[in-house]
Amino acid sequence: MTPTISVTDLSRRYRDQAALAGVSLTVEPGTVTGLVGRNGAGKTTLLRIITGLEFPTAGEVKVFGAAPAENDAVLRRMVFVREEQAYPDFRVGHAIRVASWFYPNWSTELAEQLLADFELPLSRRIRRLSRGMRSAVGIVIGLAARAELTLFDEPYAGLDAVARQLFYDRLLADFAEHPRTIVLSTHLIDEVADLLEHVVLLDHGRVALDAPAEEIRGTAMTVTGPAIAVDEFVAGGRVWHRQRIASRASVVVPGPLDAAAQARARALHLSLEPLSLQQLLVHASGSAVEEKVSA
């Protein structure tokens, strides 16, 4: 099957700064992929190139098997909701109607339901909306478009926790009924972790991690207990991070731990806890120092 998105050796430089440096990845059809990473990691640049808003300095992007830039046949099959999306000076209802003309799979029914869910005032001008309500307009358009490729770039500026949960629930429900390819760029990783099937972590313009979400879950464990026992447990192994308070220590080790290691930890009275996706990405982003511990 042709990947929905296929990116090969992609680079983008702005003057002397590399926003993307040799990025390669594929996004399979019918999956929800999380594009995560710190601010400035290159997420937005990558999405802008995928949606044909920007040209790469080097490398290749294919969407539905073809180059997206200035390619109407490709672009009409995708919707891109940007962070702090700018709109013409329309009223909400008008903006939604205009959007409906652009997307072949547009669902008026879903749009109406979402407008009601987010309590958007149809007759108010968009520039008079609060920041959160403006984000909600983008979310309504992004979901109601039902585009084969749906890209959200930090779509929830100003949205509170309740509205974000509403977004996740509606996204999941509509994705289940109408499967499509979704890319969600976000730094609220733990909030979306369970929605994702695949995770791509960008760090300083490079792909630091590209794996199924389920696989990432067991990639690292926190081992906590008496410092002596912790030292004995990790002796000779790799340690990503260590912390110590009085006689207790806590270390992060790469996982998954096999049954023998788990039994050894139990025998040493150590507690094992997997890292959440968010914590894991903090470590994978290289902000933690890897140290080698010798016995």
């Binding site: 629930d169 999941l172 369970d194 994702l196 979400a213 389920e214 879950r217 139990r266 806890e273 997997p274």
Partner: protein, 127 residues
């Protein structure tokens, strides 16, 4: 099945909770189980993850697919699950309990009388 924790993969947790319902009799043999999409919406997880959990139970012969209708609890599913869980009981419950008893200096006679006392206070019920 031990208490579910964060470290257990999501699809295993989904399978475990459906299996719990079957063992407890809340999902009778022949009953329809929730669809992948229903599970995804309820647990707020990706439908592919929910499908993986369901497929795990299908592979174990606990659920069976009836084409075009949905997923159902297979005949003999409860007995099958009980047999699997009894096999794991010593490893998952007794071993850690004995280890902790040793750590606290509780001898085996005291431990046994504690176990007997607990089952008496539960009305002697065995689950």
């Amino acid at each position: 099945m031990p208490a579910l924790d964060e470290g257990t993969p999501l699809f295993v947790q989904i399978a475990g909770q459906l299996a719990d319902d079957i063992v407890d009799g809340q999902l009778a043999e022949g009953a329809r189980v929730p669809s992948t999409n229903e599970l995804a919406a309820f647990y707020r997880i990706n439908p592919a993850t929910a499908a993986k959990g369901i497929n795990m139970l299908v592979d174990d012969g606990v659920l069976e697919k009836r084409r075009g209708i949905g997923m159902f609890v297979a005949a003999g599913a409860r007995e099958h699950l009980l047999a699997m869980r009894r096999k794991l009981f010593a490893e998952q419950y007794v071993d850690p309990m004995v280890a902790e008893a040793n750590r606290l200096g509780i001898d085996s006679d005291t431990l046994l009388s504690l176990v007997r006392g607990t089952s008496v206070s539960n009305g002697g019920k065995t689950q």
